[in-house]
Symmetry: D2
Subunit: 338 residues, 4 copies
Amino acid sequence: MIIQLADNLSVGEELPVFDKIKSLGYSVTDVRTNVRRYLVCTGSKPFDIRSIGNMPQVSDVHFVNDANQLVSREWKVGRSVIDLGDGITIGGNELSLMAGPCSIESEEQIETTVKFLLENNVRVMRGGVFKPRSSPYAFRGMGYDGLKMFYDICKKNGIRIVTEVMQADQIDQMLDYVDIFQVGARNAQNFTLLDALGKCGKPVLLKRGISGTIEEMLASAEYIFSGGNEKIILCERGIRTFERASRNTLDLNAVPILKKRSHLPVVVDPSHGIGIREHVADMALAGVMTGADGIIVEIHKTPEKAYSDGQQTLNFDEARKLFANLRQTYALKQSFNQ
Amino acid sequence: MIIQLADNLSVGEELPVFDKIKSLGYSVTDVRTNVRRYLVCTGSKPFDIRSIGNMPQVSDVHFVNDANQLVSREWKVGRSVIDLGDGITIGGNELSLMAGPCSIESEEQIETTVKFLLENNVRVMRGGVFKPRSSPYAFRGMGYDGLKMFYDICKKNGIRIVTEVMQADQIDQMLDYVDIFQVGARNAQNFTLLDALGKCGKPVLLKRGISGTIEEMLASAEYIFSGGNEKIILCERGIRTFERASRNTLDLNAVPILKKRSHLPVVVDPSHGIGIREHVADMALAGVMTGADGIIVEIHKTPEKAYSDGQQTLNFDEARKLFANLRQTYALKQSFNQ
Amino acid sequence: MIIQLADNLSVGEELPVFDKIKSLGYSVTDVRTNVRRYLVCTGSKPFDIRSIGNMPQVSDVHFVNDANQLVSREWKVGRSVIDLGDGITIGGNELSLMAGPCSIESEEQIETTVKFLLENNVRVMRGGVFKPRSSPYAFRGMGYDGLKMFYDICKKNGIRIVTEVMQADQIDQMLDYVDIFQVGARNAQNFTLLDALGKCGKPVLLKRGISGTIEEMLASAEYIFSGGNEKIILCERGIRTFERASRNTLDLNAVPILKKRSHLPVVVDPSHGIGIREHVADMALAGVMTGADGIIVEIHKTPEKAYSDGQQTLNFDEARKLFANLRQTYALKQSFNQ
Amino acid sequence: MIIQLADNLSVGEELPVFDKIKSLGYSVTDVRTNVRRYLVCTGSKPFDIRSIGNMPQVSDVHFVNDANQLVSREWKVGRSVIDLGDGITIGGNELSLMAGPCSIESEEQIETTVKFLLENNVRVMRGGVFKPRSSPYAFRGMGYDGLKMFYDICKKNGIRIVTEVMQADQIDQMLDYVDIFQVGARNAQNFTLLDALGKCGKPVLLKRGISGTIEEMLASAEYIFSGGNEKIILCERGIRTFERASRNTLDLNAVPILKKRSHLPVVVDPSHGIGIREHVADMALAGVMTGADGIIVEIHKTPEKAYSDGQQTLNFDEARKLFANLRQTYALKQSFNQ
């Protein structure tokens, strides 16, 4: 059960609601986001929901069957849209495109990419400055200096950035230089990190775990929301299966299922999802046809020279064609829904 | 290495080719299909391929790196198209639609479905008469009588049928009443069945194994081809993963990968691929966007009353809308390839 | 619900039992094995079981909660033991050892192996004459001639044989030359084959499917039993997982779980289960410690020269040491159960 | 290539070695542990290894083929033993037993468990104070206060403790109250945490990732070692598979494979590995038979009342019997190795 408290309650005015919940034998989690205050209640005893709904301190109340209540579509009218300012949004009735290199490598690389994105009307750039690498001897990214450079150049050009945070204690130092925090597949169940991102105030792009289920992904999103942050984007990026011909198995089934279960926007990462450059475009187009709100894709001026993920990265010509085709595909898909 | 022998060789005229292969230390499999005769050779010693290509008994010769040589795209100019007569084909530059119930249930059911398919210009009907069931106590299908009825009604109406064969010893009795033999996911590595289908002369729709890899699927297709049958359709139908929110995980990555590796047509089964009726259409559309040559989908006049698979079966209104959308999507996808 | 009919009923005498079942709204499957006649009933309406138990035609009746009733441990007093004659058994309170090459290769090979087995008091020899091979160009086994030779030599020496059957239509021709039919991992859900083995009268060693679950394995066993054959041995041989360091992942969890759920004997195949020769012995010993009734292991006089599976095959010295250690381990494990 | 520098080099004395490595085109990672200083070099150019081995600043040098060089068995003579003081070790020629509840719950619980462990000569107690929970609304452990109480009681009684750390920034505050840091399955690729544990000076018990491979586990161990910490214990605790009858699939194959590849000690967690109380003992015994150096098992005075994991927790009677049987099994296994 989710109780939305009325706005502008005085201190202590909410206490009778807590008393009422307690008297029903329900436990309660008090969630304050930048949007409003929710009481998430769990319990099993049936009762007349109006006895809460009619309290003056309560603006709305819903029974929610899903274990992950706040991210569930059951209680929310309409779908969540993440507003990044200047008319840039994720979710809603427009296709969101996010593109950029796997790793931030240099000022020149950022400038070139930004120029290309602007020409193609893509307003969100991806790029990693902290790279999770399974070998301790591999390149681990440009770190905070790279981040500031990345953010500053993009900001000057009206571009938002999405970049991976690997640990809760990085958030403070990164906060002023990030538009969207990305949680990587290996951190999808790093609950301390999820908790901390619940307090950070910035949007979070949450990737599915390497062999994570849809249910687990929603539970991870619930961590962020219950921590106090409603601005969450779910990202399907492929799961581990027995198939060795592709890097991962892009589970496009997850898109309609997630959109059915949750009000959060859903984007697809075809680059990691298949891991083979010449097939990335096909999978991106398919992602849009399943109903995705956006695509996040790896691009590089010269993929052959990229520090990482070159084998799954599009060059600018390939990306230009893909963006145009994605927009046509999105328009066709929208026409099917009418 | 694949050697295509010249047509119209007299008996014994090919022997020098065999001698030549033997002298090179290669082993050879002699494959005769309805199209031509191939010698599939395996060995590792390098030599000048022209020494075989120039023999008068040889029309063409290719080195093929793939282990599954005959189904590989390396040696074949153009892609394979399965011709079912009357202008009905699978592969090529037209979208193939196949639809019908999970199980054949009655004459009335077949008639109604055929009528619906004709109205929508769908020329291939699916339907099972032998059902593999994991419990020995469940409905196992209408058997041979159902098959004859199914085939006769469809034939009268210019519709081709695709139906599952479960065992090599069923082929003879089914042969006159089948247009396309389907190999189910559980039989994807039933090598005796695959061998026997290599001799049957009819097209074969080969489903991917329940947790089979792309490489294993191609090896199974190679069995059929090397048995003497070139008319093979590959079908992606979902694999088993940890995800429990869907019946299977439709691996759409497999479509572009299979089309890159093999000259055989590739179709997608979204019904088993996701197993949830309201999401089947999304996955079918996505399948076309990845480059599939066709879609095979479960439909029923009243899915709620279907003997099996009702939870993933579309009704006629849903199917009608889907067919139209699939055709639009296919046209858009074709435009991207130009 | 399983009803055991009384022995020696006259023809038609059982009809009142069928009428009674029908009147309760239950469906019934009539199962006749070499041991007795069972009526397997499925339905959900509660009733007083004594109303059936008290019928004179009924010797015993049990409610069984498991879907796979006949193989369930719920109704059976004691555990099943497979009697192969001459004091050779599988199950019960003795460790069963089965050993031999992957493929039968020659008379000399059989003779040598039999001699070795006799020296070590191992009474069941394994060996394949029909080999399922994923490539159509690989060695497929010695066939029926090899089988006869294999059987005859073993019979002369008091050794029983276990060998794989790949297709229902092979059973008749193999029947006189087989002591235990093996169903391979790829055929674990070949229901036509399982059905046919239900009628064959010979013991069946059923391997777990390549990515099959325990529940599916029990369902496959139920097929054999409900076809009329009680003589079933369950074999854990590893499942497919993401781990690439081993050929399969030997799921030893399955041993205690299967023994808890079913009255059938359970054996372990460490050779396929890990696929690495130097670790086969460790896994065999562990299998016994989990409670397995037997071990089936690949051995060869010179594994380096074996036609197949040499990388996971023990030589005679290794096997001799293993047999001794297995027996000590089994004795220790038995002592823990007292 | 691993270069062990000579002990007691003066500052700067090692520089010629770095120059030499650089001149060969190799990259180098400088690793200082409490034991010695290693230079881990990666490159591919062949050269005469004696040109480094003969340098006076070098005590030893080895080519290592494994990507994870420091944890590889290729360079190390003998196996690593973790010394916890007072004769308590992990690895070597003695079976290590670790036992305790899933969660630390109260002082009384700790006292009772410690008493039981002492009676059974078990010297390491497990217990969680920070619990990773997939739902944000579940019990998350007693935290730092619980940790101090846990540590103090155990220290007084000569017991060492192993407890999970979930985040790098917890290490400092936990450090004085932990004997062995445990890295949980969900954190197996939390590289920031692994890096930080490389500097902490305390032993680390590293659990295998939820669907992690053996290679990934060794890479995670390499992170810790290359960070400066040689005291690592590898723990097999089951992986995610399709099997639903058990909580996880205990991959005992991993034990001999890990011991072949790495010099680190390997322990088995049968509690999470099967997740079913009545089968935990069987799997523990099997673990010892595969060659494990130790067993870590969940026990509780009254498992039915445990805050978490009660379904897989042994009571004291069960645990007492298991410890005795494990010791007998270990002795038998040791006798096989002679």
